[in-house]
Symmetry: C2
Subunit: 192 residues, 2 copies
């Protein structure tokens, strides 16, 4: 077992089938599931997912034996992207890097809806996702703290849940969501 920085992608990608038609269906299912979960939460209808993907219900169950498998696959994919994004912000100033990364949540519709449940999920994959997100984000937070730009009396977990809560909420438009996120992040900045 080699130490992977973000082991999540390995777990998930290994299940992608080899045959051409099968791989196409697998991708279509993931895309359809992402859509459906974003719209209806993790309780979305699996038959609806299959319909959206233009695929028989049997095909869905062959690729993802349970709802949990499907959900975790979608979720893990987004978490993985998010983790990789952390590498792209290391060039920025400490506070800016942290803020950029946190704002990235907003782009992940499934994660938004799921994060509240997932932060408490106890399956192997959810735990791996959590670990990955911490591995990716906590250093950014600590760097900002070290630079005197983020307050020291809260934990990274507090911060993550705060942002998750805000991004999971409906706003009038994206501008409002952004405004509110900025306000909340101002509360995280070190008092001057």
């Amino acid at each position: 077992m080699t130490a992977q920085p973000f082991p999540v992608s390995e777990i998930v990608a290994s299940r992608r089938p080899h045959r051409k038609d099968a791989a196409r269906n697998y991708d279509a299912l993931l895309a359809a599931a992402r859509e459906a979960f974003a719209e209806h939460g993790s309780e979305a209808s699996l038959e609806d997912v299959a319909r959206r993907a233009g695929v028989g219900i049997g095909t869905l169950y062959r690729n993802f034996p349970t709802r949990r498998h499907l959900f975790e696959s979608v979720y893990a994919g987004e978490v993985n992207d998010l983790c990789r994004f952390a590498e792209e912000v290391t060039g920025q100033e400490p506070w800016e890097a942290l803020a950029s990364w946190l704002r990235r949540f907003v782009d992940y519709t499934v994660t938004k809806r799921a994060i509240r449940e997932a932060l408490d999920g106890e399956s192997e994959i959810f735990l791996a996702c959590r670990e990955s997100m911490y591995a990716a984000g906590a250093p950014l937070f600590e760097r900002a703290q070290g630079a005197g730009q983020a307050r020291r009396d809260i934990a990274f977990d507090d911060l993550l849940r705060m942002v998750a809560g805000i991004t999971a909420t409906n706003f009038l438009d994206d501008a409002q969501r952004d405004r509110v996120l900025s306000v909340a992040l101002d509360g995280v900045r070190a008092a001057r």
Copy 2:
């Protein structure tokens, strides 16, 4: 049409039946619905609500012809309490009054879960609730702004949604929720 400060209670209370057994069932249904909605969101099973209330499904539908009627009744009740609470905090300092009122959200499990949907709902009752909440809360916010204790570059609606998002999120415990809420509210305080 007399101008009511909080017209919501009128709309809802008027539907309570007069006969003793009927009134008891009505109350039991509301209590059971509050519980069920808090647990499973506004999609909770109505048959489950009837079961919890120890009442036949027919009785539920007689009192609340649609799921929406039931949900709105529960929601309106909590909003109404919240509005009345605003009167109790007027003795406090401007910022403290606002903060106390906002923290009151945390106690309303249904409101918490529903607020995201309800803030965009367009039924008569949802609109009335929104109006009531604004009538109750906005003065507290404006008073804090007037006293130089709250920043002026955000709207009351922004604030409400921010708090709603945070309180609707799962936290490890109440202490964490409170901590996070404090951080976010620090962002609302006027910069010194």
